[in-house]
């Protein structure tokens, strides 16, 4: 499991243990990964997050067009795996959970423990600090050499 901030780890771990989900991604509404469990390559996680965020955004927009309240959760049931997607508000903004589960659990259990995790996450958010310097002043020279190494020019 990998989490952007330590306070996310415990609620996510409890959810994984209780729900027996196989893969779980927590992301911002723009598709930036906040925490994940079960994926192996970082770049594949980003693809899954981009697709998950797109599904949620397009469904919310569809609800707006239809003049109905946003759908609380979305599920896709496959032959051996199911996908559960749900957006929720946190003091850090709107987040999305994407859960892939197998036949050893059920949609109902996933939803039940997902809701509990959301409660724990929203209650456990620590206060944000001020601003912090992110990159050193000479970051541009490192960026240039990094881009040169990557793109060969």
């Amino acid at each position: 499991m990998r989490a952007l901030e330590p306070w996310v780890e415990q609620p996510l771990m409890t959810f994984l243990t209780e729900s027996e989900a196989r893969l779980t991604l927590l992301m911002t509404s723009a598709g930036q990964v906040v925490a994940q469990h079960g994926f192996t390559r970082a770049v594949d996680i980003m693809s899954a997050a981009a697709l998950g965020a797109a599904i949620v955004s397009s469904t919310e927009e569809m609800a707006r067009v239809l003049g109905v309240r946003p759908f609380r959760a979305l599920t896709h049931q496959g032959e051996s795996h199911g996908i559960f997607l749900s957006a929720f508000e946190t003091p850090r903004g709107r987040w999305i959970g994407l859960v892939v589960y197998g036949q050893d659990t059920s949609l109902g259990l996933v939803q039940l423990f997902f809701d509990r995790m959301v409660d724990e996450l929203t209650q456990g958010v620590p206060a944000e600090g001020g601003t912090k310097q992110v990159l050193a002043q000479d970051f541009e020279s490192e960026l240039h050499s990094s881009l040169r190494a990557l793109f060969g020019r």
Partner: protein, 199 residues
């Protein structure tokens, strides 16, 4: 919005390629995908129609490596250029850290360029972002076409580049200008990030 993980020392930024239909946004990503080493890029995700026109977006994650001690990743998105896909364009634009406006240099496509640029401005504004605050570069694509069919980079600068930001000539099918553009927008995005981020 850039996501900065101080614990794992990671930065993730979202860059959106915007512009009119068939200006070359997807071709930019395809060229980048083909040239970046496999261990530094993810799979390219394309949500396209049967005729390969972008329906929702193309997505390509790339790993820039370590910059100032932060593992830096960029998520490159394209939007569908066709006018009637504005709802999906808005969704893709959410949370963008930088924009590449890919203009079609053909003189006959000038109106579409203008329309798309105005649309970018409107959609950013709808998200509460002034286009003047968004890291933005222009790419004038298809500069390889015969001179009598296209507008020159200086003519396009005069017509489109109201902020006098950096612009790049390109022929993205063959790669000219593609990495220069990406490098240009990357610098702007990281410069903005260097000014400070939430702790």
């Amino acid at each position: 919005m850039s996501l900065v993980n101080f614990t794992a020392r990671e930065i993730t930024c979202k860059i959106v390629y915007y512009g009119p239909g068939r200006s070359g946004k997807t071709s930019n990503l395809q060229y980048i995908y083909g040239r970046v080493p496999q261990d530094r890029r993810g799979k390219m995700v394309s949500l396209a129609t049967a005729s390969d026109r972008t329906l929702f977006f193309d997505f390509l994650p790339i790993d820039l490596g370590s910059i100032s001690g932060f593992t830096t990743k960029f998520q490159l998105y394209t939007v569908p250029g066709q006018v009637y896909y504005n709802a999906t364009r808005k969704l893709v634009l959410q949370g963008a850290d930088g924009v590449v406006f890919v203009a079609d240099s053909q003189a006959r496509r000038f109106d579409e360029n203008m329309e798309s640029l105005q649309n970018l401005q409107e959609n950013l504004l709808a998200e509460g972002t002034d286009i003047r605050d968004m890291p933005l570069v222009y790419q004038y694509n298809k500069q390889d076409l015969p001179a009598d069919l296209i507008m020159s980079p200086s003519e396009l600068d005069d017509a489109l580049n109201f902020r006098s930001v950096r612009s790049f000539s390109s022929d993205c099918l063959h790669g000219s200008g593609v990495f220069e553009t990406l490098k240009g927008v990357s610098e702007l995005v990281l410069q903005k990030l260097a000014a400070g981020a939430p702790a």
